[in-house]
Each structure stands twice: as C-alpha cells, then as structure tokens.
Symmetry: C2
Subunit: 198 residues, 2 copies
C-alpha cells in the first residue's frame, strides 16, 4: 500500500506534460507552501469535472445550457466559425476581434478512428445552417491532413445549405523565418503568392 | 462571475511553473480526455492536504505518526542524515544506498526571514543527538550560502553532543540544489562525504 504522498504524486501525472519529477515537485510545493490554494484547486477541479458539459448550441464547454458566447445578445449570428477544439476557439477569441458565433467539433473527421460526421455533431450543424440566419461559415480547422479533409467536407455542407464557406489564410507566420517554416507550409505559401501592390 | 472553466484554469496556476497558457491546456486536457483521472486527482489532493502532516521523529511528510523510514525496523539508527527538504530526502533515498535515518529541517537558517534554530526543530534534533544512539550526523544541506551556514551550525551542535559530523563530498555543484543533481553525482558525493573540520 503506497503512502498518500506517493498517491498524490502518481495522481498529478494525469496532467499533460507532467512526469515523475515534476509531479514530485508539485506535490511538495502544495504541501509546503500552497495548502489553501491546493484545497481550492481540489474543490474546483471536482466541481468542474462534475458540472462542465457541452453547450447545447455550439458544443463548447460550459456548465450551463448555453455558453457565454451563445448566450450573449451582442454577437453577430450571421457569421459562424467552426473550430476543432475549445482551445482553438479560445485562441481565436483572444487573438482576433471576431464577433460572430462558433461551432466546436470536439475533434476532426478521422474514419480510421471511427470519428465521422455524427461524432462531430455535423447533423446539428447542418440543421443550424438550414435555419437561414447564417450567411458565412468560417472554417478554422487545423491545417493537418485530417483537418483539411474536415474543412473540405464542411465547405460542401455549407454550399448545400446556401452558406458561403471561407477558410483562414495559410502561409508563413508573421515574424517567422523561412528557414524554419515546414516544407508544406512554405510550398503552399509560395504557390499562393500574390502580386504586391505598388 | 467567472465561469467554472475560468475558475479551474485560475486554480491550476497554484501549481509551480504553471502559467495561464499551461493551465488552459491542463484544464482542456482533463475535460476532454481525463475526467476520471482528474476526479481521482481532486479526491487524492483534498485528502493529502487534509491528512499529510509531519513525522513526529524526523519532520518529513507523512500521513501517520511516523514516516515509513522512521517506522522501519531495518534502518540503521546510528547514522542520521540532515536535509533541508523532503524532496532532498527523496533524492538521496533514490540515488544512494543509504540505510540510516533522516532529519528534515523543512528550511535552512535564515535570520533575515526569521528562520532560526527553533523553526528548524533543532531543539528536537539536539535532544535526539543527546540520546546517545547516533554516532554520525551526515549534513546534507544545500551548498548555498544559507545551507553552508546551517551546516556549520549543525556541525557544532553535533560535536557538542559527541556525535561526528560529516558533509557530502564536493561534486555537488556550488549553488546547485540537491533535488536537481543527477543521481550519479549525488550518489558519488554521498559516498565521498568527509568529516567536518572545526
Ligand atoms: Zn455555445
Ligand atoms: Zn520520520
């Protein structure tokens, strides 16, 4: 039977990127200097995992029926941005001035893993596009093979419903150096070059 | 009122080395892929912070009266190794073949911070040295200015009680912390400890 301290160290390894050494350091830190903060974390974590589910409308995480964005009266319901994950939605929300709404796939099409349109809630998305309020669907899936296949599928879905699909621009990241950009990105950026204005 | 997800992200920042971005990644990871592991962590964390206190004999962390080392019948009670923290004790335990017992200061002498002999339990240590069972006190404080001052103080204390003080050999990098020293170096330094001159 392992000690409670050993159990704590082992439990902390459920966190991403946390190995044995980091888990030890975290456990000692909490025991030595952050007992109150640690107790608060334990309580919030238990409550969050118990109560946080998915928004009925966009599938993002929320503890209510609707997430804050879907519940907001000040968002533009003509633009719908489709992302793979809540983290992607948050990144867009924090980096851009986007004022439309979202749809969170919670994944991407991956037939080999048994993830098809149903698992991504595309029937729900399709019904929403059919309601006629949305005019543009911004497809912000990741530029991976599966993300691109998903984007292609989503674009067809949008066109079938009379909604204009759009896609984030791909290319060399701002501030990036050509030398360190992967070949696929560089090739795409080269092929998609545009004439420079005078 | 912030959402439960925002509260979770904020709470996770109590962990050492975890900033906003990492906390976000951890929260999403738990919600998306590790709900069971996360619930287990919440339970163990609450219980550990509630029940883990200090060993009555060596001041290391334990949920019982005595830690596993102090309670063990197979440890040599003639050798006492003094360390600053439970993490240092663990590092020595994992890297060396030491079979004696420990005393954990839970700090180091630091008069400016109000940490004196009393705060480090040195009255308790002194009484234990006076019992006559211990013949060697291995001083394994960190090779920092405060750690060296603490070592000097401990060596005097040992001599007053007729106990031979020894110190880990050079090999532990100056300014380094035991917790982060590689096992080979630590094991070598431990084996090459020398008696402390007056
Ligand atoms: Zn929503
Ligand atoms: Zn003990």
């Amino acid at each position: 039977m392992s000690s409670l301290l050993e159990q704590l160290i082992e439990s902390l390894r459920v966190l991403p990127g946390v190995g044995q050494k980091t888990a030890q350091r975290m456990a000692y830190h909490l025991l030595e200097r952050e007992r109150e903060g640690g107790k608060h974390l334990a309580g919030v974590l238990a409550e969050a995992l118990d109560r946080i589910g998915h928004c009925r409308q966009c599938r993002d995480f929320t503890e209510g029926e609707l997430c804050a964005v879907c519940a907001s009266a000040s968002r533009d319901r003509q633009q719908l941005c489709v992302v793979e994950s809540p983290a992607d939605r948050l990144a867009i929300e924090q980096a851009t001035g986007y004022r439309g709404v979202y749809f969170v796939l919670q994944g991407r099409l991956s037939p080999l893993d048994g993830i098809g349109p149903r698992e991504l809630g595309l029937d729900q998305l399709s019904a929403r596009l059919g309601e006629g309020e949305i005019t543009e669907m911004i497809i912000a899936t990741n530029p991976t093979v599966e993300g691109e296949a998903t984007a292609h599928y989503l674009a067809q879905l949008a066109r079938q419903r009379g909604v204009k699909p759009s896609r984030l621009a791909h290319g060399v990241p701002l501030g990036g150096e050509l030398e360190y950009v992967d070949r696929g990105t560089l090739s795409h950026a080269f092929g998609s070059r545009s004439e420079m204005a005078e």
